[in-house]
Amino acid sequence: MRNDENTSVVRARGLCKKYGREAGLVRAVDQVDLDVAPGETLAVMGPSGCGKSTLLHLLGGLDRPTGGEVWLAGQRIDGVSEKALARLRRTAIGFVFQAFHLMDELTAAENVELPALLAGRSPRAARRQAISLLEQVGLGDRATHLPSELSGGQRQRVAIARALSNSPLVVLADEPTGNLDSEATLDVLRLFESLRSAGQTLLIVTHDARIAATADRLISMRDGAFVDETRLTGGTTGHLGALAGLEG
């Protein structure tokens, strides 16, 4: 399937990020081409140090490439001003990080409504939406809790609610289950699954196979470059029973 350049939510061409020079030159991201279609969940997987986090930062305007182009919903963003980039990050992109990055002194609801307030929404509308997002992630009864009063899985779900606060074009998640135990991971998996079926465009970089396996499409990254691509939707191959030792 080919993505028309006008319809890709996220698009990169020849994207590069280099550090150092000569013998010390590191190509953290090396000539990456990428298209993420609307409503698609894409996972980029690779060992630590393969450049996947750097890639996410370049796509989300948290870092500048040393070469190539980044497009967001048809708009080229790699060369825009710092101010314009900051506005894009606030309004068009939802970020989810491994370490949650919640404000410790704010309640769950205050964390979630913050991006909406920064975008100029009225306090009342922002709060109403924050409560509804917390309900959506299953934490309606934790709105007044501080992050320190929540489990790791609950904090990550608050962070995901916050990422959705401005109805972003795309949610970029960096190792979202990296700090979670298996039960909390399952909660986050369910949540991403429901976002996926609601049509939210998602890009996840991870080395956790469980979250990668929820994606529509999976790209493997090594040494800064894409080396393999798999479409996970459509025709199931193995029989689950055989995996459990049951014979037909």
Partner: protein, 175 residues
């Protein structure tokens, strides 16, 4: 179907075949769907022949296997007891894949990393299927626990593939 499994299903009380099937379906959830429904009767007939099970036809009903009431004989009970205390070990099949990588690299027939990538694609598809099935199970269901086992095994296989990837990447770049 393993004979001991059918015997153990009978250990609770004498049962009809369809009751055993229901217990199996409960424990296996979606994994049970792939099983042939007639298989349990084939196994029961073998167990009867081996003297581990008795089968009594219900009076006045046609002679169909699902009308029979099956029960363990003392020998059958003994077998179930032995089976429960037996330690069985899963048979992982790692050597074949490992040797495939070694042979492919030695003979320069294929890139070991391409083989690793292909294997990972397949494992991830299975992981996705198992995970979808696990997420669809209600909390604390027997079948959910079995599916979690499959998910964990697949994750272990994928972690080993990561180690293979690191190793063969290192060899290729000569470090």
């Amino acid at each position: 179907m393993q004979q001991e499994v059918v015997l153990a299903l009978l250990a609770k009380e004498p049962s009809h075949g369809y009751q055993l099937r229901a217990r199996l379906a409960q424990a296996l959830g979606p994994l049970g769907d792939e099983m042939n429904a007639g298989q349990i009767y084939v196994t029961l007939a073998r167990l009867e022949k081996a003297g581990l099970v008795t089968a009594e036809r219900s009076a006045g009903l046609p002679d169909r296997p699902d009308r029979k009431m099956y029960a363990l004989t003392p020998a059958g009970q003994q077998r179930v007891g032995d089976w429960l205390t037996e330690v069985s070990w899963p048979r992982p099949d790692l050597a074949e894949f490992h040797l495939k990588l070694v042979a492919a690299a030695a003979a320069r027939l294929a890139d070991p990393l391409a083989i690793v990538d292909a294997q990972r694609r397949e494992l991830l598809r299975r992981l996705r299927d198992a995970q979808r099935a696990a997420m669809a199970e209600p909390e604390r269901s027997d079948a959910g626990l079995l599916l979690e086992g499959i998910v964990l095994r697949l994750q272990a296989d994928l972690r080993w593939l990561e180690a293979c990837e690191r190793n063969w990447t290192g060899r290729r770049s000569g470090t």
